[in-house]
Amino acid sequence: MDGQSVVELVKGKFGDGVLEASEFRGEYSILVSSNIAHECLKYLHDELNFEYLVFVTAVDFGIDAEYRFQVVYELRSLLHKLQIRVKTNIKENQDIESVVDIYKSATWDERETYDMFGIIFRNHPDLRRILMPQDWTGYPLRKDYPLKGRPEDDDWLDKHLPLGQLKRPRHTRKPFSLVQK
């Protein structure tokens, strides 16, 4: 079995649910619609021997994108020595079915994704922040999250900085880029 045949099988099974399939540097990824993502992973796990979930994460495309987040699952078949990436697009306030019932390793990965992006995983047994403190506001890996400091810190500085001492401006500076909007 190779990547292409897995893609074909998934396409055959889910038809229109598979929105896009691509290959880059020998890696196959399939973009599926969010309502069948869970089903698709279950199919890959149960019937195609993709028994190992490498990671779960998300990509933020910014506030203006139609689908703000892309949730990424990297699966591996130890038997076929094969990897495949399943992706699904969701909107900012949309939640998505947790895959903990299929892959236990998603437990912490999904918690992390929730912590960093604020994506809610339905039916997750224990969805709470993991890396950030429990009273944290905001989701640090979102693209609109400031790079330096939190808004609350500004207020705090206003009160506590010695008189006359200036706050340094808060940046959201990226490395220098000539790419224009």
Partner: protein
């Protein structure tokens, strides 16, 4: 109507306008062709040759920036041969380019670096020709002001030549022959650069050859944070980025996708150091005593409580943000429940938009000027008043060649070099032109059916030379300059302009220029709507003792009144409360001074002459609150809570209210005040929009003082040479100015620029007037 043609680029078919070049067509469709010298700002130059593409049927590669698309054309943008060709060009540039990236300001954003990276140049067959460590031979122009040119870094793309010629219309730069067969960019006459110092050449230079002296060695390109904002020097509202490092503005840049297409003038590009001027007001002070904010609020509310409400008056300088401006208005209308308020926009555009009927008072984009068939520029030297309009005219007339230009003024100006039809009137005879034009239009049958058409009368002024063009044109841009509106008969001029606008209703777009950056915002906020008080009656009200407390918001009395008049105001008003950013003559005489941040230190909006609501963003920290915040607190102290929700402006573009369509009867009986041999005009310099704009390095270096422009003949007659000091006398007052002989000045006319620190021309013209008859004498022994 533009024709569509079908072309194939890299095997894909596209439908594009037949007017487009191959490069434009490719870029529109997302196909990348490398190009160094091309920019939409000034069109094709054809110097870099790197944009060459292969066209089926042609033996040699063609320059895609210059070649127009043709139906059925098949273009290949990339092939081994083209790649080789492009590499050859880059080798050529690299051969002579010194090894100076480490110390060059352009490093990191240099297009030569980028193209080397893009083509991944790993060898140079020609590198044996030069020793990279040898001392370069090209000229380095240390002697130029503001702009630094190092010919060694130049790759001779001629972008600076093109931008100077086709955008700025100054054309001082050229590729000239130096010893041997070497060519270098230099001034045409070989003298040190003496130009508008707009720095457009700096902004287009792909390498570090043209650079800003003010920025040199201050920071590397990648260290600075770019804060997008709107220029706060005139009402053009150019979009620019403040490059900030360590809470200091180090340079100003602009991007090509902005409405101003990255064009900025001297003030915008080089005058950023105003923001760290040592004349910034930092403390609250009352009668020369420094207070903290709370104490100041208490003291001020006490002053305002002790003054009868109807005796409090306010003047806005039309330079503050829209928010401050509106808060000021709300403060008077709601907290003080009076309308004793006006702004400095009433001295010029306020007059025009009072009369201009609603049907023709729409504010249009400047880009429409370039698209107009006919541009009529009336009443001033637009290049000095608003360079951005000047560039729009230049773009239409010189680059796109879509527009004809008519210039109606008393002097030859820069736009006349665009092949304009000149209409010259004597200074003060603006109405002659306007009324004859209106009359001629009526005679041609324009405006049929309008009431009061019969009242239009002509004058002996001959406008026949332009009538043909006016009839032909389907789209006319009519630009009214501030100088004309600032005349003492400005209201009559405004009425006459309104008549013309109404007559040409279907095809005219009226633009008005203003040196005050938020003048249109003040109009939008209905300043000048009071029936009793207007800024012109300030003196009268003060003398009559009607004013007890006068609040000035960014309004410097000495920038619109003569020194005497300002003194009268001072003496007859009990309290002068000044909200201002910079020290000025007014700050010396004001009782209470409230500092407000400069536009670089606050967030808000400006409304420009296009009616656009432009955002400004805070770039540098400053520890004083915005004027509106202070006013809101003050208002709370006075027992009235203002709501900041109202300050939010949701529209992207504003519209102004105007009267119903009406033909005005014009009183042409105006003569120039005073007597004397000369006519003296107070007009504008492109290096000042206010007194404080001279606190910045860029403007100060470009022009440090107001000079007296005089015709050669007159100068010879009186025995004046460049640099001599002359006394101008009128109205029993006199001012002394250095002389500059200007060949374009008509006989018996003198002109000096406003808002310089060396003099106040209003001293002889009087406030709300910029024209007077005067006598001229040579000063003995220079300035006293």
């Amino acid at each position: 109507m533009e024709k569509k043609v079908k072309i194939k680029i890299n095997g894909k078919e596209f439908e594009v306008d037949s007017e487009k070049s191959i490069l434009q067509a490719a870029r529109e469709n997302g196909i990348y062709i490398p190009a160094i010298c091309y920019s939409d700002r000034f069109g094709a130059i054809g110097a870099c040759r790197i944009c060459a593409v292969e066209i089926a049927g042609m033996k040699k590669p063609m320059l895609s920036c210059a070649a127009k698309v043709k139906d059925g054309m098949e273009v290949t943008t990339n092939s081994p041969a083209l790649d080789q060709l492009r590499r050859e060009i880059i080798y050529e540039w690299d051969t002579f380019h010194p090894l100076q990236c480490g110390v060059c300001d352009k490093s990191g954003e240099c297009e030569l670096q980028n193209i080397n990276y893009e083509f991944n140049i790993t060898e140079n067959p020609k590198e044996a020709q030069t020793d990279p460590l040898s001392i370069p031979q090209g000229t380095i122009h240390y002697e130029w002001k503001i702009i630094h040119h190092d010919a060694n870094l130049c790759i001779q793309c001629r972008r600076c030549v093109a931008v100077c010629d086709k955008v700025v219309n100054f054309g001082i730069l050229a590729l000239v022959k130096k010893d041997g067969d070497r060519k270098e960019i230099d001034t045409k006459d070989g003298k040190p650069l003496d130009c508008e110092f707009c720095g457009q050449c700096v902004s287009v230079c792909p390498t570090g050859a043209m650079s800003s002296k003010l920025f040199k060695y201050k920071a590397r390109a990648w260290e600075m944070e770019k804060v997008p904002t709107t220029c706060g020097f005139c009402s053009s509202g150019c979009q620019m980025d403040l490059n900030v490092k360590n809470n200091e503005i180090l340079r100003v840049t602009s991007e090509e996708y902005t409405p101003n297409m990255a064009n900025l003038c001297n003030l915008g590009r080089f005058n950023y150091s105003v923001s760290k001027s040592d004349r910034l007001i930092k403390d609250y002070s009352l009668n020369s005593k420094t207070l903290n904010q709370e104490a100041m609020l208490l003291e001020l509310s006490q002053i305002l409580k002790n003054t009868p409400k109807e005796k409090i008056f306010g003047i806005s300088g039309a330079r503050e943000t829209h928010e401050d401006n509106l808060a000021f208005k709300m403060f008077f209308n709601n907290t003080l429940s009076n309308n004793n308020i006006d702004s400095l926009s009433s001295t010029h555009i306020g007059k025009l938009y009072k009369y201009l009927p609603q049907s023709v008072n729409t504010l249009y984009d400047f880009s429409d000027i370039s698209d107009a068939n006919l541009i009529i520029c009336f009443g001033g030297d637009i290049a000095n008043e608003m360079p951005r309009i000047d560039w729009s005219i230049t773009r239409g007339a010189k680059l796109l060649k879509t527009s004809k230009v008519i210039s109606a003024y008393w002097k030859d100006t820069k736009i006349d070099t665009l092949g304009s039809i000149p209409l010259r009137y004597e200074p003060g005879r603006e109405l002659d032109f306007l009324t004859s034009f209106a009359f001629a239009l009526k005679s041609e049958g324009y405006g049929a059916g309008l009431d009061g058409l019969d009242s239009l009368t002509g004058s002996e002024f001959d406008v026949s030379s332009i009538m043909e063009e006016v009839k032909k044109a389907s789209n006319i841009a009519f630009i009214v300059c501030q100088e004309a509106l600032e005349r003492s008969n400005g209201e009559e001029i405004a009425k006459a302009v309104s008549n013309i606008a109404l007559l040409l209703k279907d095809k005219i777009k009226v633009y008005a220029s203003s040196k005050y950056n938020n003048a249109f915002g003040a109009l939008y906020n209905n300043y000048g709507s009071s029936n009793e008080f207007s800024i012109q009656r300030l003196l009268e009200f003060a003398k009559e003792g009607k004013i007890e407390t006068l609040i000035l918001l960014n309004a410097d009395l000495f920038s619109f009144l003569s020194d005497n008049e300002a003194k009268i105001v001072r003496d007859s008003v009990k309290n002068i409360v000044l909200f201002d950013t910079f020290e000025s003559k007014t700050s010396l005489i004001a009782n209470a001074i409230v500092p407000v941040p400069f536009f670089t230190s606050q967030s808000g909006t400006f409304i420009n002459a296009e009616g656009r609501v432009n955002k400004i963003n805070k770039a540098i920290e400053c520890n004083v609150p915005c004027a509106w915040e202070f006013l809101f607190k003050l208002s709370t102290n006075l027992g009235y809570n203002l709501s900041s929700a109202k300050l939010q402006l949701k529209d992207k573009k504003i519209t102004l209210n105007g009267p119903a369509d009406k033909i005005y009867t014009i009183n042409t009986n105006s003569s120039v005040k005073g007597d004397g041999e000369f006519v003296f005009i107070a007009n504008y310099s492109k290096f000042r929009t206010s007194v404080y704009s001279g606190y910045g390095e860029g403007a100060k270096l470009a022009q440090s003082q107001s000079v007296l422009h005089i015709s050669k003949e007159d100068a010879q007659r009186i025995g004046l040479n460049d640099g001599d000091i002359a006394n101008i006398e009128a109205n029993g007052a006199s001012i002394a100015l250095p002389v500059k002989i200007d060949e374009q000045m008509p006989k018996s006319v003198l002109a000096a620029q406003l808002w310089f620190e060396n003099t106040n021309p209003y001293n002889i013209t009087g406030g709300f007037n910029n024209l007077v008859r005067a006598n001229l004498t040579k000063a003995q022994g220079g300035l006293k």
